[in-house]
C-alpha cells in the first residue's frame, strides 16, 4: 500500500471539516488509508493519491460522497449502552406520554441514526411499554449524513451479528422477519421511523418541536464551535418538558448552560434548565 502524502492528508482534513465538520486529527493517516483504499479500488483508481485528485477536481459527486461516508464511523447497536433506554422507558416517556394525552402526538428525533438501530430501539420501547399511544401520531425521525445509512434504515435489514448485539431475542421474535441470512424489522415498526438526510453541521429542515431528542455519539467528532452551535439549535427544537439524550462521552457542560443534566434511574438525560424538576417514575401501565 502506498502511504498517504502529507499534502493529501492535509487536503482530506480540510475536506472533511468543511463538508461535515468532522475532525480528522493529525496522526490519523492510517485511518484515512484503511478507510479510503477500498473506496479508491471500488472506483477503479490506483491509490489514494488518485482518489484525492478526483475529489479535488470536484467533478465526481460519487467520489466525494463515498469518501465522506467511508471516513465517518457508523458504529451502533440496538439498545446501545442499555441504561439510557431504561431511563427513557421508566422516567422520560411516562411523564411525556401523560402530558401529551390531549394532543395524542409524540415527536422524537434521532440525530445521527446510522443504520437505524437507535430509532428502531425507540420504536420497540414505545410498542412494548406504551400501549396507550396506539392510535396517536407517533413520529420518529432518524437523520444521518450518510445516504447509505439512510438506505439501510429504510430497509431495516440487519445481519445476524447486528441482531445478536444488544437486541433481546424476545424482541427479535416479535418484531423481525427472517430474510435469507438477514433479519428485517417488520413493516409496522418501519412505518414509525422516517429516515431523512440531514447534515448536522449545515442547515436543518423546518421541523416540529420534539418531545425527545437522541443526539448520541456524533458530537465527539466535531470541534467545539460546531458542538456549541448544534447543541444550541437542538435545544431550540425541544419542548419545554422535553428530554435530550447524549452519548456517554458527551456533555453540554461548558457548551450550553441551559441544558441541565438530570439523573433518572440508571442513566441520565438533559432537560431545559427553566423547565420542570427531575422526572419522577410513574407506575407503569403496561
Amino acid at each position: 500500500m502506498t502511504s498517504i502524502s502529507e499534502q493529501d492528508f492535509g487536503f482530506l482534513r480540510t475536506f472533511l471539516r468543511e463538508q461535515s465538520s468532522i475532525q480528522l486529527e493529525p496522526g490519523k493517516e492510517y485511518l484515512a488509508e484503511c478507510r479510503l483504499t477500498p473506496v479508491a479500488r471500488a472506483l477503479g483508481l490506483k491509490d489514494i493519491a488518485e482518489l484525492v485528485a478526483l475529489i479535488r477536481r470536484g467533478t465526481s459527486v460519487d467520489a466525494r460522497r463515498r469518501s465522506l461516508e467511508a471516513m465517518t464511523t457508523n458504529e451502533t447497536s440496538f439498545f446501545r449502552d442499555v441504561h439510557p433506554f431504561e431511563t427513557l422507558r421508566d422516567h422520560v416517556l411516562p411523564e411525556i406520554v401523560r402530558a401529551r394525552a390531549g394532543e395524542r402526538a409524540l415527536n422524537i428525533w434521532c440525530a445521527a441514526s446510522s443504520s437505524g438501530q437507535e430509532p428502531y430501539t425507540i420504536a420497540m420501547v414505545i410498542r412494548e411499554h406504551f400501549p396507550q399511544v396506539a392510535g396517536w401520531r407517533v413520529r420518529i425521525i432518524g437523520t444521518d449524513i450518510s445516504t447509505e445509512m439512510l438506505r439501510r434504515t429504510r430497509e431495516g435489514r440487519y445481519s445476524q451479528l447486528e441482531i445478536n448485539r444488544g437486541l433481546p431475542a424476545r424482541l427479535l421474535l416479535k418484531y423481525f422477519e427472517r430474510q435469507g441470512l438477514e433479519w428485517q424489522i417488520k413493516k409496522e415498526l418501519r412505518d414509525m421511523v422516517d429516515a431523512q438526510e440531514v447534515n448536522l453541521a449545515k442547515r436543518w429542515p423546518s421541523w416540529p418541536i420534539f418531545d425527545v431528542i437522541f443526539l448520541r455519539n456524533v458530537l465527539i467528532y466535531f470541534d467545539v464551535a460546531t458542538k456549541r452551535e448544534i447543541l444550541g439549535r437542538a435545544r431550540k427544537l425541544m419542548r419545554l418538558d422535553g428530554a435530550l439524550f447524549l452519548g456517554g462521552a458527551e456533555t453540554p457542560m461548558g457548551l450550553d448552560d441551559s441544558l441541565k443534566r438530570t439523573q433518572a434511574g440508571p442513566s441520565w438525560c438533559y432537560r431545559l434548565a427553566a423547565a420542570s424538576p427531575a422526572p419522577q417514575p410513574l407506575p407503569r401501565t403496561a
Partner: protein, 126 residues
C-alpha cells in the same frame, strides 16, 4: 463468574471458553445435556449455563426443561448458543425456559451482550 458451557463440539467449547476466560470468567464444560445435568446436581456453584441445541443423549432444549423443573437449580440463568436460526426455534427455547438466545457464529462482543441480557432477564423473572 463461573459458567458452564454445554456443547458437543470440542472446538465450540474451547472457542467460547477462550473468549470467556479472557473476560475474566471461569469455565467448566459438559459435552451433552446429561453430563451437564449431572454436574448441576452437585453442590458446585454455577452462575450461568451456555447451552447448545443439538447434542447427543440429551439435547439443549431438554436440558433447559430439566433444569427449570429442578427445584434447586430452576433459577439458573440459561443462554441458548446455537446455529438454529429459525424463529420457531427461538420461540421453543423461550417456552422451555431459556433466558436468552445467541445464534452462531458470533464474536466476543455479541457473547457478552447476550450474557448481560440473559442475566438481566433471569433477575427480572424472580
Amino acid at each position: 463468574m463461573k459458567i458452564l458451557i454445554v456443547d458437543d463440539s470440542l472446538a465450540a467449547r474451547s472457542f467460547i471458553a477462550r473468549m470467556l476466560t479472557k473476560q475474566g470468567h471461569e469455565c467448566v464444560m459438559a459435552s451433552h445435556g446429561g453430563e451437564a445435568l449431572e454436574r448441576l446436581t452437585s453442590e458446585e456453584v454455577i452462575e450461568l449455563a451456555l447451552v447448545d441445541w443439538n447434542m447427543p443423549f440429551m439435547n439443549g432444549l431438554e436440558l433447559v426443561k430439566a433444569v427449570r423443573a429442578n427445584s434447586r437449580r430452576r433459577d439458573l440463568p440459561m443462554l441458548m448458543v446455537t446455529s438454529e436460526c429459525e424463529l420457531e426455534r427461538v420461540a421453543l427455547a423461550f417456552e422451555a425456559g431459556a433466558d436468552e438466545y445467541l445464534m452462531k457464529p458470533f464474536t466476543d462482543v455479541e457473547l457478552s451482550s447476550k450474557i448481560q441480557l440473559a442475566l438481566a432477564s433471569r433477575a427480572g423473572t424472580k
